[in-house]
């Protein structure tokens, strides 16, 4: 399955279950506050516990929580299992820009170009403080740490331009440490790669 789709399904699953729970809790609470207001119901009942109900409302959330954990975990594995034929590109974070180094040692700053329909693996490192490499469109993010390479993997299905952002606070110009991702056809990519800067 497409990793982006996997993550989005996990989002929907958690959001919908949460929305149902939230609406339920809120409506019941408001209903009780109105239905059992003191002017209507001056004498409360003395109910202290109900072990059956308490067991039920412990077990059901446990099952829900475990299912959410599993959905989240399996969508995560989708982001981590890189196909063997992936194109590898080195990414270096620095205050305050991104450097990309391609297989033929071509270097660009703040502009990442990749071919469409090919798995891409980015090996990320920092040359100074922590940064974090984030492409919202592909749901991928990894910290750039000096001396400890990390990676992200994504598989673009359409050509187009996407944003790349830094999500680990890194100083004065953290918010302008942005780059663009250009997804182009294989032919365009190959010509671009051979172009002299």
């Amino acid at each position: 399955m497409d990793p982006v789709l996997g993550v989005d399904r996990a989002f929907w699953y958690i959001f919908i279950v949460s929305a149902v729970l939230l609406t339920g809790i809120t409506l019941v609470m408001i209903y009780f506050a109105i239905r059992y207001r003191r002017s209507k119901n001056p004498v409360p009942e003395d109910i202290r516990d109900n072990w059956k109900l308490e067991v039920v409302w412990t077990i059901i959330p446990t099952l829900i929580a475990l299912s959410m954990f599993w959905v989240g975990w399996s969508s995560y594995t989708g982001l981590r299992n890189v196909p063997k034929d992936a194109i590898e590109i080195e990414v270096l974070g620095q205050m305050f820009s991104w450097i990309f180094i391609y297989e033929n040692d071509k270097e660009t700053e703040n502009e990442l170009v990749v071919p469409v329909n090919k798995p891409i693996k980015l090996n990320i490192e920092s040359i100074d403080v922590l940064h974090s490499f984030f492409i919202p469109a592909f749901r991928v993010k990894a910290d750039a740490v000096k001396g400890m390479p990390t990676y992200v993997y994504f598989h673009p299905k359409e050509t187009g331009t996407y944003d790349i952002l830094c999500t680990e606070y890194c100083g004065t110009s953290h918010s302008s440490m942005t780059a663009t991702l250009e997804v182009v056809t294989m032919e365009q990519y190959e010509t671009w790669l051979e172009e002299e800067e």
């Binding site: 004498v43 003395d46 954990f69 984030f134 944003d163 606070y169 918010s175």
Partner: protein, 553 residues
């Protein structure tokens, strides 16, 4: 009840006079009042900084400040809110005031240590203030002080870190005091399953404070060493490891999240039964879930680090543990709502704040599930989604619980009542503002807007504008609430000993309480939330009113 002299008029130790009767006092109630003013001072500053941050973000480009000032502003907002408001707020003020009374004691076990904690708190606050205006400039690292940035910036980090260290020590000593007090000062008649839930929550919190705070103290000292002597503990240039820092930092700071929320949950567990005039539903389940949260919450720190480069196995384990913490939290929410079933509910400002708490905290908790799940967290980690999530839990949760506690125990602490109408208006304004303020941030986060961002791409401008408008409403609401409370001093409308019909021991003594709390020895009920006496009294009053009415007819 015969007239008693309140603690305001009885210095302790007795030879002290004037200002010294406050500055050297060992009375837990005076210390609580002193904490109240200090905490409110910092809260006022931090909320104003937060307000200015949001005004800055209302439009693209520089609006009212430059990037460096902005970075310092969010750092200060975080440091002050966390270390000077959210962590100490409920335990230091209401814990100090109410905990000894709830267990029938006349003070905490170590009154002098309690006074020392207050001085450490003040010293930490003053250090934080001094760090602003000395050294290389405002601290600008974010409240997390992540390395290597925090050791490379020229700004005045060591003093800010030292301030956090001192404040940690203050909170740890308060925790130590509470644990000992609950064990040693509780009146003999009160067994463990007769302790009120607010005290239980503080007891659970105190263990976390005592056991987790040393970790942050070690970490912050290591940062200071690293900066002063360039040892190479965290700095990769010298063979150090930045992830070591993150683990150490969160090993404290995640348990600290529960230090922040558990006392708030304790407040809600008092307010809901009082105004429902009904036993709290599932007393034991709430007690066990408090302890469960304290224990499990200490084992989930690395869920802040899914993108850090930590191993996938670690992510699996920490994600699973994180979901387990959700369960005792859910049990508490269900128990609160369950308490209201077939109750006799009286709407009051504290109850309104408590109900808003349940709603906002549920949103915060449920969005936490998105962050606990590995795949979805990768997308929203360090974005505005996280900002919205933790404000829902820490502000909508702890903050609103703090406001609820203020309105609930205000008449007890000062013996005066505030205006209800203004309190309702303020609560409504704050809640509506809160939703408009933070809901857009969830959407911004889903769209990919990172946190700690001075400026942003055009697609994020609409959400930031909305958030700013909500922020203005929220700010006005909170200010109105505080003004309303302060106005009660001018009006001096006297509050009776038990204005709400509460059953825990603090409601059995005069408002404000006398120096030694109890005029007559306290009596403990078999079950701490047994309202039958309150109901009998209400029924007697009701029937006498009815007969009077009949007679006049």
């Amino acid at each position: 009840m015969s007239e008693t002299t309140s603690f305001f008029n009885t210095p302790s130790p007795p030879q002290l006079k004037g200002i010294w009767a406050w500055l050297l006092t060992q009375d837990h109630k005076r210390l609580a009042v002193m904490y109240l003013w200090a905490v409110m001072f910092w809260f006022g500053i931090a909320i104003t900084i937060g307000f200015l941050i949001r005004i800055e973000l209302m439009s693209i480009g520089p609006t009212i400040m430059g990037p460096d000032l902005y970075n310092a502003a969010f750092t200060l907002h975080g440091v002050i809110m966390i270390f000077l408001f959210v962590i100490p707020g409920i335990p230091a003020i209401f814990g100090n005031f109410i905990l000894p009374i709830q267990i029938g004691a006349d003070d905490v076990f170590f009154p002098k240590l309690n006074l020392l904690s207050w001085y450490l708190y003040m010293a930490g606050g003053i250090m934080a203030l001094v760090s602003l205006f000395t050294g290389g400039g405002f601290p600008d690292t974010g409240w997390t002080f992540y390395v290597p940035f925090s050791i490379s910036t020229s700004h005045n980090v060591p003093l800010t870190v030292l301030a956090a260290f001192t404040l940690g020590m203050s909170s740890m000593l308060t925790g130590l005091n509470f644990i000992t007090t609950v064990h040693r000062m509780r009146i003999k008649e009160m067994g463990w399953m007769q302790i009120p839930l607010f005290t239980w929550a503080l007891y659970a919190t105190a263990w976390v404070q005592l056991l987790a705070t040393p970790v942050i103290s070690i970490t912050l000292l290591l940062i200071i060493f690293e900066r002063l002597f360039s040892i190479g503990l965290f700095d990769p240039d010298k063979g150090g490891d930045p992830l070591l820092y993150q683990h150490l930092f969160w090993m404290y700071s995640h348990p600290a999240v529960y230090v922040m929320i558990l006392p708030g949950m304790g407040v809600i567990s008092e307010i809901i039964p009082t105004f429902s005039r009904k036993a709290i539903f599932g007393y034991k389940a709430i007690v066990y879930s408090s302890m469960g949260i304290a224990i499990a919450g200490s084992l989930v720190w690395a869920h802040h680090m899914y993108t850090s480069g930590m191993s996938d196995t670690a992510i699996f384990v920490f994600s699973l543990l994180t979901f387990l913490v959700a369960i005792p939290t859910a049990v508490k929410v269900f128990s609160w709502v369950g308490t209201m079933y077939k109750a006799s509910i009286e709407m009051t400002p504290p109850l309104l704040y408590a109900m808003v708490f349940i709603y906002l905290f549920s949103v915060g908790g449920l969005t936490g599930l998105v962050l606990g799940a590995a795949g979805t967290d990768i997308h929203v980690h360090d974005t505005h989604f996280v900002v919205a999530h933790f404000h829902f839990t820490m502000f909508g949760g702890t903050g609103f619980a703090f406001f609820a506690a203020l309105h609930y125990w205000w008449p007890k602490m000062f013996g005066i009542m505030y205006d209800f109408k203004r309190a309702y208006i303020a609560a409504t304004l704050a809640t509506v503002g809160f939703m408009f303020h933070y809901v857009p941030m969830f959407i911004l986060g889903m769209m990919g807007m990172p946190r700690r961002y001075y400026d942003y791409l055009p697609q994020f401008s609409q959400g930031n504008l909305f958030a700013g408008i909500g922020g203005i409403l929220l700010f006005i609401g909170i200010m109105l609430m505080l003004i309303n409370l302060l106005l009660s001093f001018r009006k001096q409308e006297k509050a009776v000993a038990n204005p709400w019909g509460g059953v825990t021991l603090e409601w059995s003594i005069p408002s404000p309480p006398p120096l030694h709390n109890f005029v007559a020895p306290p009596t403990v009920q078999d079950y701490p939330y047994d309202f039958s006496n309150v109901l009998q009294k209400a029924a007697a009053q009701h029937s006498s009113v009815n007969t009077e009415q009949k007679e006049s007819e």
